[in-house]
Symmetry: C2
Subunit: 554 residues, 2 copies
């Protein structure tokens, strides 16, 4: 463990006070110190001096021991700035690096060279030390055993004292163990280390990776420490190292990749709309204000208008993956003040269902490919956070709003024809769909116009309803979309009907004065999709560095 | 042309003043109107009333003419809200839509159905009207010719009066013209329209698309109107419709796609780091301030720290495509206050050149694939903005900083060994490299430590230089990168050497206290790459909705 790093704050503290010692000794408050305080300070300085002396002596002894060691060239610390050993000094006998995941019985007897984290080191007497080495989501066992040629007892001691989570460069022989190594993800081989160098030393950790990787069931059964979410997030650099988190963010990356694969294949163009906007277009209260040179700007709550402008500019089909900002003071499991929006917009030919059905197929594409191409990651995540794969049908499962109301009424719910669905009713509806259709994923079509935003196209045949839809996963809404009004006059009329002054939305309306094709689209929060897909229960788990009303750090 | 939309402002103006007419007539300034002003107002109202009467009469005549027309079911306006004709009323005889780009001689004699913009309509007498129809970057000629069965003279008049840039749904026969149509991008077929419906009417435009699509040479030779950049940007919805702009943003989308293709193939994970940050880490002056509930937040100037935290969290290789904010009051051709950053960071094994060379190969991959897979778009752009393809070699072209200094000195430049390169010297160097090596793309390695940021790793063998690099296209820097210091103690030392208090960067330093592999990376502005690659001269041309100190709209 790096003593220097751990103790640094105390040394600084003493030095800071000591700096102010002169003819008059001043305390932290700027006033002269009392005699008692002065005495205490001197005592602390004396203690500190002695500690340093002791440490220097120990270090000198350690260095002397190493200097006389026959194995001294086979271990040590790499110094990043040239003042110590470099990778050249290590004298590795092989030139190619292997990755931990590639270690297998086909390499038996060969000498390999790897980089890995030290997850655990345990000595058995003074001649042998076991290590668990980790790279990403894979672990392997390694041994250092003292002999007369390459490994000394001094080297074993050196290895034993390396702090957990330090990064090592190791050369060793691939050996078949006498019995399978159960404690590591690689069972059939272990590494007999002949060279061990520390690439980067770890200081003390706020929690152990073992504790952070246990499932609730394991914690309960074994009476283990639970690492709470805030502690994890405060120490996110450590928390993100768990195999589970490593896998979660690989899945998050995969969702973006699949979203784009599907859309680029269908001739969509990727756009990047501005996040700094001139006016708080969609009702000012949930918008963050920015000081923009000598005036104000706002952070975009959605790329909606810009996507639509691209449609009016003949881009035909566009998508965007980018940050979305919501100044909502909501402290729930599913709200963030900054999240990643996956947005798309598309001109259609006959009917907005072309777009709605394409979005359905897009989700199916994502689900299917995740299960196939990211099976290892899903398995890793489900070990710590058990969940069933979501059930879906390629044949589209869709309910209209009136059908949903009837469904709920038949189950005894009192609800008006045009009433919005409460979270409770959404859940019940999801359960009813799951029971009758056997799926956790479906679409709800034709929401009442009154409960959708002003830009939603009314149904031409019954304007009490609109050409709009929501998508649900495991009874929670994950995507909202609609045909948008592409006609400036109709848009003005609908804005007035919602009690808004068209003057306030002039720029928005103007975009549709130069001819615009009929179009529809939708938007979805990346974190929400991943959370619901994996059944993770809290959106902060799927945001790399989450932002909420109380958290802006790290 | 939609008269209603064009005249709306005047009507509003009169009505607004009229609303205030009562016992006392008040003017715009809130004071009673003078007799003279009153008379003027009444005259205006009278004029307005007459105009409305005349228009109503004309409209009634027009409707009567249509009501009696034998072809009346073959044209008209689609109403978006069900109060007029719908797509069903159009009675299209074919059910499938074709795209304009798919019209070719193999379809000769067939009836097709398309959506397209009316780029131009010109009548020849009362019996025939020529149209130029556009979809994306493709144009085709269409005709309506009066006959006794499907097309009447009333219909020809209807078509003639449709405003340019309106969107039409057309059914017609594919016909081989007597001679190739030179004025359209499709030469070998034209369309004989039998049904013409207006899907969305365009109002008056700030400039014509023809004017906006001419090259400088054409403007000069023909004495045409030049549409200046500000006018374009103020009317971006129209400006983005030009075939050139359409192609520019397809190329921009392609650069992102290729960047990701290359990196995902090499096992990178895509990340999304927060844009709202707690403290203005890299020197406060260029950071936008945000009101975050009851405190302050800042907009991230780069994802640097977060990329590095992911490396410290064992992600191994990460990239991000996202907005970057710079509160710099720079009004130049190459600065934006918000741009799209393409960032990557990667743990390496032996040496940072692994990363630097991979970035070189990444650019080559982008250049090569653009020329191959987006050749049509490049050709379209180069028609309006002529430029040569950039010259590059797959064999890596790299210069060290000392070599660059020598190169410049040999050309008569007086420059110190450790002096930063001025823009002028960068240009000269680029020219020298182009002359001697025949390329417009190269790397410059080993910049002096003194002119690079605090987190740059010094060269272990000569700390006056650093493990850092820049990439150049056409003599301008497009990417800056380096090995980063992964050791907390060395980082603290280097921060002090730059005269910064390590306390101010505590959180940054802390990320490296738990073991971090050696790593390097870089960042590049998407708009700058596309601008230099296409030789476009102004970065605003490659930003969808550019933001600079003076522009926040649209």
């Amino acid at each position: 463990m790096s003593q220097e790093q751990q103790e640094q704050p105390i040394v600084n503290e003493v030095e800071r006070v000591a700096e102010r010692l002169g003819d008059v000794v001043l305390g932290e408050d700027g006033k002269p110190l009392s005699k008692k305080a002065l005495k205490k300070l001197e005592k602390e300085r004396e203690k500190e001096r002695k500690r340093k002396e002791r440490e220097a002596k120990e270090e000198a002894e350690r260095l002397a021991e190493i200097a006389n060691d026959f194995a001294k060239n086979n271990y040590g610390d790499f110094a990043p700035d040239g003042r110590g050993k470099t990778i050249k000094d290590a004298g590795f006998t092989t030139t190619k690096w292997t990755t931990v995941k590639d270690l297998n019985s086909s390499l038996e007897g060969q000498t390999v060279r790897i980089y890995a984290r030290l997850q655990d080191a345990r000595a058995t007497g003074s001649s042998m030390c076991f290590m668990v080495l980790r790279e990403g989501t894979v672990t392997v066992q390694a041994l250092v055993v003292a002999n007369d040629e390459t490994v000394s007892k001094v080297m074993v001691k050196f290895v034993k004292n390396i702090a957990t989570e330090s990064i090592l460069a190791i050369e060793g022989k691939v050996v078949k163990p006498s019995e399978p190594v159960k404690s590591c993800s690689i069972h059939d081989v272990e590494l007999h280390a002949e060279k061990v160098f520390v690439v980067s030393r770890a200081g003390p950790l706020a929690f152990s990776l073992e504790d952070a990787t246990r499932s609730s069931a394991e914690i309960e059964a074994g009476g283990f420490n639970k690492v709470n979410l805030d502690t994890r997030l405060d120490n996110r650099v450590i928390d993100l190292r768990t195999v589970t988190n490593n896998a979660i963010f690989r899945v998050q990356s995969a969702v973006c990749q699949l979203f784009r694969e599907f859309l680029l294949e269908r001739n969509f163009t990727e756009i990047h709309s501005p996040k700094l906007i001139e006016s708080a277009s969609e009702g000012g209260s949930n918008v963050f204000e920015v000081t923009y040179f000598k005036r104000k700007a706002y952070l975009a709550q959605s790329p909606q208008l810009y996507k639509q402008m691209c449609i009016a500019s003949d881009f035909g089909r566009v998508f965007e993956i980018g940050p979305v900002f919501r100044a909502e003071d909501s402290n729930t499991h599913r709200h963030l003040t900054e999240f990643v929006g996956l947005d798309l917009e598309m001109a259609f030919q006959n009917d907005y269902h072309e777009v709605m059905y394409m979005i359905y197929d897009l989700f199916i594409y994502i689900f299917k490919n995740l299960e196939q191409r990211w099976a290892h990651e899903l398995q890793t995540i489900r070990r710590q956070y058990p969940s069933e794969p979501i059930r879906y049908k390629e044949e589209r499962v869709v309910l209209t709003f009136p059908e949903a109301i009837k469904f709920l009424r038949d189950s005894g719910v009192e609800i008006d024809d045009f009433e919005d669905l409460s979270t409770e009713n959404e859940r019940l509806l999801g359960k009813l769909v799951a029971e009758t259709r056997g799926v956790d994923f479906y679409m709800l079509d034709k929401f009442p116009s009154a409960i959708r935003p002003f830009y939603t196209m009314p149904d031409p045949e019954d304007p009490r309803y609109s050409n709009s839809y929501d998508f649900f996963i495991r009874n929670e809404e994950i995507m909202s979309g609609a045909q948008r009004i592409h006609d400036a006059d109709l848009l003005t009329k609908c804005i007035k009907e919602k009690g808004v002054n068209p003057k306030d939305l002039e720029h928005y309306i103007d975009a549709f004065r130069y001819g615009c094709p009929p179009h529809a689209g939708g938007g979805v929060g990346l974190e929400r999709v991943v959370m619901l897909y994996l059944g993770l229960g809290n959106i902060r788990r799927v945001s790399l560095f989450p932002r909420d009303p109380k958290r802006l750090f790290p």
